[in-house]
């Protein structure tokens, strides 16, 4: 009897720290918002693995960053070196001087970039979300057809579209206007597709109860749907703003120098010859840092959603 009691006591004593650890781990995971069916070892291994890959993926960012601090002899060094040996701020002062003397002020290019990027991104996010909302939640004739056209259009090479787009732009007289960049971006199929895929997770019962309470469609869309699909439109925002900022498709439609965005100004700076490479590296750093700032702010705002939580019966 006594022996058995002892054994039970010993087992309990042995188990206590384990139970305590398990409880502690659970508190830690709850604090960080980690789901339950996980082991600590697995979590650690995950972080280690991710860090290893991250070191490899971070190369471009590091490279653009260190390049801006390289003196000219290192920019032209053969064989090229990845890291900077004698960092200098010379490139930044060169760039400042260049800005002051440029024919079209750099601030004008910066304004063009900032304006077209923010206007196009705002239009794209709002219009694509509106379209995605009705395509997923309303039952009207033609919605399936429209959505399949959107998906099909993604598969056509955008390079060839350049000629017909030019024709269209010319015939409606939008060459050399901001419209030429903003409106095509507003109708980009990728954003609609992306947002529509998230729209399915918005519960119908929530929309119906709002309707019963007398809310109109615009109110439902703006005050109920948009907050719920925030991760979706933030992702579309990141993507669209980067596309427009890097000016991948709008370039040929703008010929007037004072309407051109920074990437074109960049080529003008590099046209100034080899002596301008240092300034070019600074512009590259600037070009990369703006979307990354937007990206970090947007990403940090993608939180856990509680779509279904408000609906417990």
């Amino acid at each position: 009897m006594l022996k058995q009691g002892n054994r039970r006591l010993a087992r309990a004593a042995l188990n206590a720290p384990r139970l305590f650890l398990r409880a502690a781990a659970r508190r830690v995971r709850q604090f960080f918002g980690i789901s339950l069916a996980r082991s600590i070892g697995g979590d650690l291994a995950t972080v280690l693995f991710l860090s290893f890959i991250a070191a490899f993926m971070a190369l471009p960012l590091v490279y653009v960053f260190v390049n801006a601090f390289k003196p000219p002899d290192e920019l032209f060094l053969f064989p090229p070196r990845f890291f900077v040996q004698n960092p200098t701020l010379e490139n930044f002062s060169d760039f400042a001087a260049l800005i002051e003397n440029s024919w079209v002020p750099f601030s004008r290019y910066a304004f063009n970039s900032a304006f077209t990027t923010s206007a196009a991104t705002a239009a794209h996010v709002v219009f694509a979300s509106m379209a995605a909302y009705v395509l997923e939640k309303h039952r009207f004739p033609g919605r399936r057809l429209f959505f399949s056209v959107v998906i099909l259009s993604l598969m056509f090479s955008s390079e060839v579209l350049f000629v017909p787009r030019m024709l269209v732009m010319n015939s409606i007289g939008w060459m050399d206007t901001y419209w030429a960049i903003i409106v095509p971006a507003a109708g980009m199929p990728i954003g609609l597709f992306l947002i529509k895929q998230f729209m399915a997770s918005v519960p119908d019962s929530l929309l119906e109860s709002a309707k019963i309470d007398g809310a109109n469609e615009m109110y439902i869309f703006w005050n109920i749907v948009m907050p719920l699909i925030k991760p979706a439109w933030l992702t579309a925002l990141i993507f669209c703003s980067q596309q427009i900022w890097n000016n991948t498709s709008g370039a040929p439609f703008i010929r007037a120098e004072q309407l051109k965005p920074i990437p074109q100004a960049m080529s003008r700076i590099l046209d100034g010859g080899i002596g301008r490479w240092g300034s070019g590296a600074v512009v590259s750093l600037f070009m990369v840092s703006v979307p990354i700032t937007v990206f970090i702010i947007a990403q940090a705002n993608i939180l856990d959603t509680m779509t279904a939580s408000g609906l417990k019966e």
Partner: protein, 303 residues
């Protein structure tokens, strides 16, 4: 609303849904004029001989016939493209899914850092050129320097011009930049899954992360999986700038010549818009076929 079930009356049904059409209109207008219309014009262009300098001449299906009977480089490009799509499409797709899933369990600050870093290669334009430093064909290239220092090779390997090595280098670089919008959509999609489901699953006896992934995460993520699949398809068929930056144009023996390269060649260098448009049409059909296949595969997730 009752009109919907009473047979034809399309006008009435459209009229009853005018609010929906109003919501669709701003996007649909921009999309129709600047995407759908240009795609339709391109289909027509593909049936012409058109150099941008002279007006187009209708030639029927000549471009397509020429492509498949007379243009050996195109056939090689098609073979390369399909090969690359088969490796990079699924590879990049699974890698982005795996990484997004791993990132999802991390605390917010750490997660943001990882997402930014992983997305960086895809978002910094023209960044692939740093692979030229890494794979440079002389002893100064990072890989060659490493191999020689440790005695694996005695002569530097010409990674960028040796036809037996080029494909491998291209695949590495392309996988490196494949964490794009598909990856971002996975990250956002995973965040949109309500934690209730995981908690309920843990109570119902889901024991480890693998079961949780198969029975909860993947089925809930299906809309994003479909999105990511299309992005992977368009991405892997559209490879062109990377090969030009790394291997020059044309690459040695057209080893890494892709359909998108071939299209650029005819479009931007030879100004043969008709032929380029017909290449785009063929790529379009191939991608649709791939998409059908992928949709069928994704239909099995979580079963």
């Amino acid at each position: 609303m009752t009109d919907q079930y009473r047979g034809p009356g399309l006008f009435k049904r459209v009229g009853a849904h005018w609010v929906s059409y109003l919501f669709l209109l701003p996007f649909a207008g921009a999309f129709a004029v600047f995407t759908v219309l240009p795609v339709c014009i391109s289909f027509v262009n593909s049936l012409t001989r058109y150099s941008m300098l002279e007006p187009p001449v209708f030639v029927g299906f000549d471009n397509y016939v020429r492509m498949f009977t007379d243009d050996e480089v195109f056939q090689l490009a098609m073979k390369n493209t399909i090969f690359l799509a088969l490796i990079i499409g699924p590879g990049g797709y699974l890698a982005s899914l795996l990484l997004a899933w791993m990132i999802n369990t991390l605390p917010r600050s750490l997660r943001t850092v990882f997402v930014v870093v992983f997305y960086a290669p895809a978002s910094v334009p023209g960044i692939y050129s740093i692979w030229k430093i890494i794979f440079s064909g002389d002893e100064y290239g990072l890989v060659n320097g490493f191999l020689k220092r440790w005695g694996f090779v005695t002569e530097p390997i010409s990674f960028l011009y040796d036809p037996t090595k080029m494909m491998m280098v291209l695949i590495i670089c392309q996988l490196w930049i494949s964490m794009g919008i598909g990856f971002l959509s996975f990250v956002a999609g995973l965040k949109s899954i309500d934690r209730q489901y995981y908690e309920a699953a843990a109570v119902d006896g889901v024991k480890n992360r693998w079961q949780e992934a198969w029975f909860i995460t993947l089925p809930m993520l299906k809309p994003q999986l479909l999105f990511g699949a299309i992005m992977a398809i368009t991405g892997s068929f559209g490879i062109s700038e990377v090969t030009v930056q790394l291997f020059g144009f044309p690459s040695t023996d057209y080893t890494v010549h892709t359909m998108a390269n071939h299209l650029s060649d005819h479009f931007s260098i030879r100004y043969d818009v008709g032929y380029a448009s017909s290449i785009a049409t063929v790529m379009f059909c191939l991608m649709i076929g791939c998409n059908k296949l992928v949709n069928r595969l994704l239909g099995r997730v979580g079963r």
